[in-house]
């Protein structure tokens, strides 16, 4: 399978990438690791006429302690997250979930910013960043703005990014010692989650769901139940509330609703253990 023809531009910096997007408008797509975009292009589900390769914008590959939060450059690869000592000490959930994305080969190429910008509800990292209350830094022709994760994912593969904007940084609150569990249900080790549930417990409890709607989402009813004193088992009964799972070759919507109740219970229990 071969992608439709396109023009290839390589950006040496964030500014160059934004200038290229401004010049080519809606016809252009950013290429980072390519782990999501290239398969779509090979299937011709995406046919951009210009690819702007930001894979070598090394200034956007970093994990920094920024005082009250961690700053992660958008072009930091999953592999770099997986082996980060800073994350192991200050945000183990991000390190853990990065180590569960795809397989080794995918983690050698794929980036956190690419995953977030793609906005796939079946992806691991967008849901985690929702659960962590992360903030995204976005750069466009008129400068920089920040978008809370809660406002970023708008619809299926649709985010708050404008066509001329580049996600540059992910800001993650520190969470040393937080209880965490990601329950990822899949047929084969490297697959996308058929359903995923993650819980972060550090005083309050935050729960995010993978592949239960057109966007990643928080299990608000579960969080409210826990805050109101419910047990993990009681709270997990409400895990399918507010979800809109699709049916596909792997699971019917009803099966996904069953799975999410089981997985949320397991995640809550494992995160408080």
């Amino acid at each position: 399978m071969i992608p439709a023809p396109f023009d290839y531009l390589r950006a040496g910096s964030a500014d160059e990438a934004i200038a290229a997007l401004a010049e080519h408008g809606d016809d252009a797509k950013l290429l980072a690791g390519g782990m999501s975009l290239l398969p779509l292009m090979k299937l011709r589900l995406a046919t951009p006429s210009v690819l702007v390769d930001v894979g070598r914008v090394h200034e956007l590959s970093y994990i920094r302690d920024a005082g009250d939060h961690l700053a992660v450059g958008a072009l930091t690869r999953h592999r770099d997250l997986e082996i980060s000592d800073v994350l192991a000490a200050q945000c183990e959930p991000l390190r853990t979930v990065a180590s569960e994305v795809g397989d080794n080969q995918v983690r050698h190429r794929g980036t956190i910013g690419g995953s977030v910008s793609h906005g796939d509800p079946a992806s691991d990292l967008p849901a985690l960043l929702l659960a962590l209350d992360a903030t995204f830094v976005v750069q466009g022709p008129d400068g920089e703005r920040t978008v809370p994760a809660a406002d970023f994912f708008r619809g299926f593969l649709e985010t708050a990014l404008e066509p001329d904007e580049l996600l540059t940084e992910i800001r993650v609150p520190k969470s040393p010692g937080a209880g965490f569990s990601y329950q990822k249900f899949q047929r084969r080790a490297q697959d996308w989650a058929i359903v995923g549930a993650m819980a972060v417990r550090d005083g309050d409890t935050r729960v995010a769901l993978v592949n239960m709607a057109t966007t990643p989402l928080r299990a608000v009813a579960v969080e409210e139940a826990i805050a109101g004193g419910a047990s993990a088992t009681e709270a997990a009964e409400r895990a399918a509330e507010g979800t809109e799972p699709s049916g596909d070759i792997n699971a019917t919507p009803e099966y996904r609703e069953h799975l999410v109740r089981v997985l949320v219970r397991r995640a809550l229990e494992a995160a408080s253990a």
Partner: protein, 157 residues
């Protein structure tokens, strides 16, 4: 639209320069432009790992990378592992442990293993099974493959 892009690569230690179409995939570049057909195209959807090669020492699926993205990189394919007649320790272990049935996945399995052992030199069986999760063997010959990787880890210290 399309045009061409000039890329320079080093494949198995040998320098190459080519004008390629931007949409040329790395696996096609290796097989059709450089002429090294040891790297296989299996699923062509980033699932099976048959096309695994090393780019700057790390395993990647070459069906899901543009040749243009590999510009300036050092690429190692299955043809680049042996030193003359002497097999690479991972190749020798696959041979000794009979870690193949039909052989189609083998080049990718070996390349993924070389990368895995670089990152985890003394893996447990679980490390090996997780580390090779991106490589499928349609013959389901995983048992001997895992044994071979463990053997290679013991001998390639």
């Amino acid at each position: 639209m399309g045009g061409s892009v000039r890329i320079a690569t080093t494949v198995n230690g040998q320098a190459h320069e080519h004008d390629v179409e931007p949409r040329l995939l790395l696996v096609q570049y290796l097989r059709e432009v450089v002429g090294l057909t040891g790297t296989k195209i299996g699923c062509d959807t980033s699932s099976c790992g048959a096309c695994t090669v090393l780019v700057d020492g790390e395993s990647v699926k070459s069906c899901t990378m543009l040749a243009a993205q590999a510009d300036g990189s050092e690429i190692t394919t299955i043809e680049g592992l042996a030193q003359g007649d002497e097999l690479h320790p991972v190749q020798a272990a696959f041979h000794d442990q009979h870690a193949l049935q039909c052989g189609f996945c083998t080049a990718g399995m070996v390349m993924a293993t070389v990368s895995l052992l670089d990152e985890i030199p003394r893996p447990t069986e679980r490390d090996v099974r997780l580390g090779l999760e991106g490589n499928l063997c349609r013959c389901t010959g995983y048992h001997n493959i895992v044994q071979a990787v463990l053997a290679a880890a013991g001998t390639s210290r």
